[in-house]
């Protein structure tokens, strides 16, 4: 019997001036999710498999408006929520993903259905919504996902002169961005106080040594409609195999170009690195100029995380009683 382990994240790239109440709120949510996952893993019911637990936890994160997924998603330039998610079952390397969903209450569950109940691995936009209807999943109006907070953030993002497609081009006029505090840190071309990526994810290894991973997001604030990021891309934002499960967050382009999640598994497999070494290597060597973070578990019951951004909301727990929630280094 192997050892279980779980990790969750709420996004890489955190405003160092984030008000303490918001930091506490985030940590409480991460703790609650960890506890939920831990009790599921401890139980001997059939729903304690890695794939079931990652779905359960990401559903919880989507339902809570704190982070950028499901309810509380970042808004498109049109003020709507357009969400994407992916999930992967390490045993059998099966996967499912959705993009451009606007009325599905829990995108990660739809991704799971794509994996289990459709002949495909990835569905998007109207096709995904149609499939959701057929499957009878819970559907809601797009309004459900939109919070006042995010309406405000969208306004700021527009004032800060929109998302740059090439995040390496510095934006001018930051002083007009309207945020209460100045911050020289940028991600994806926006000051960090506005950017707040907050994609969510969960990775689990269960007591049978099976790994799974899932990632869910509303994407970039003020994004064009139809924009797809790294979160639904298998190999980039999410990956799981016999060796490990990985979920990433941060600057989408950097994650896509480096196929970040797959890279962790690849160096474990081909360079025979241990989990933490693999995570450290990939974060240090594979991101070029990009800022990102990831969480990972191994089939041996280890858990690890790494990030080169300023902060990452995360939590981990292992069977031998270890539990930790953090934001900063």
């Amino acid at each position: 019997m192997g050892r279980w382990a779980i990790a969750v994240h709420g996004g890489a790239g955190v405003d160092p001036n984030l008000p303490p109440e918001r930091q506490d709120q985030a940590k409480k949510l991460l703790t609650r999710c960890l506890n939920l996952g831990v009790s599921a893993l401890r139980s001997s019911s059939s729903s304690s498999s890695a794939i079931d637990v990652v779905e359960l936890i990401v559903r919880e994160l989507e339902t809570d408006p704190t982070f950028n997924s499901g309810r509380g998603s970042a808004l498109t330039e049109k003020g709507t929520a357009e969400m994407e998610a992916s999930i992967m079952d390490g045993s059998g390397r099966r996967c499912g993903a959705v993009s451009g969903v606007t009325t599905v209450k829990n995108p990660v569950s739809l991704a799971r259905l794509v994996m289990d109940k459709s002949p495909h691995s990835y569905l998007a936009f109207s096709g995904a919504e149609e499939f959701a209807k057929q499957q009878g999943v819970e559907m809601v109006d797009n309004e459900y996902f939109i919070t006042e907070d995010n309406r405000g953030m969208l306004k700021l993002a527009k004032e800060a002169n929109t998302i740059m497609f090439d995040y390496r081009i510095p934006i001018t006029g930051m002083e007009s961005c309207g945020a209460g505090v100045e911050s020289p840190i940028q991600m994806n071309g926006l000051p960090i106080s506005v950017y707040a990526p907050e994609t969510v994810g969960c990775v689990v290894v269960d007591s049978e040594g099976r790994c799974a991973a899932a990632t869910s997001t509303g994407g970039l604030m003020n994004k064009m409609t139809g924009r797809i990021g790294d979160s639904p891309l298998i190999g980039a934002g999410t990956y799981a195999c016999e060796l490990c499960g990985v979920s990433c967050t941060g600057e989408g382009e950097a994650i896509i170009r480096s196929t970040l999640a797959r890279e962790v598994a690849a160096v474990m497999e081909y360079k025979e690195l241990g989990l933490q070494e693999a995570v450290d290597f990939v974060i240090k060597e594979r991101l070029d100029q990009g800022k990102a973070g990831l969480i990972a578990v191994s089939s041996k019951g280890e858990v690890a995380y790494g990030f080169n951004s300023v902060g990452m909301f995360r939590g981990c727990a292992t069977e031998d009683g270890f539990m930790e929630v953090g934001i900063w280094e």
């Binding site: 936009f125 139809g226 196929t259 797959r262 690849a266 160096v267 081909y270």
Partner: protein, 271 residues
Amino acid sequence: MNCMMKLFELSLHGGTGDIPLTLPLERRQPREAALRCCLEISVSALKSNHSPLDVVELVKTIRTSMLVERGSILTSNGTVEMEACITEGNKTVELFLGVEIVNSSHFITLENTERLKQAKEANRVQKTPVPNEDSQLGTVGCVAVDSHGILAATTSTSGLVNKMVGRIGDTPVIGAGTFANHLCAVSATGKGEAIICATVAREVATLMEYKGLSLKNAAAYIVEECAQKGTAGLVAVSASGEMTMPFNTTDMFRACATEDGNTEVGRWHSV
């Protein structure tokens, strides 16, 4: 002894799958002619010092015009949805995701409407091979390397016959159907779902980097060991000018050219 590195290498595929050995001449020839045409245009572009990225993009344009003649794969709704991707080693990746095409009637042919009908009747999405049926998967890809070792790859497709509306395959997913870095450029084709899970295109580069395999051995390993039989093929070039076009299906339409004038348009395992 002439030790000059080849100025460029170029490789194209026109889809893989179960192309029957009995494919009639009038079905085979247009595709081979199209590949030859792509090859000639690309070769002269590379010879006139166009960048590999421009060349692979050119192939996509040619493909669009090919589609007007040959017809494009149809979704379960009888509409056309295309996906494509282009990438250059060391540079920003561009990712395209075509959704419904305006004037899609340009791409809809009698033949493909009939194929959709058959697939629906058999309640089949083009997944399992049917003996002697021309699966005509229709993905096109191109990889190129120039004398500076700059690599580029592109892939474009309409996907699977009778696919669900909104289905996205491996083609636009970086690392699955398309990938390029400083080591190699890869374009894969076959059963999208299988290629996504195995991150096929990325894997070629991964094996070269971490296991020190040559391009040929890395690609062969992936196609033979990692991807399920009957699901994948790829074309790839390396920064040092190697080229390979392995596949684990019945066949793959493919063509390649090198600067020293060698060109090949191939089918079957004879090439």
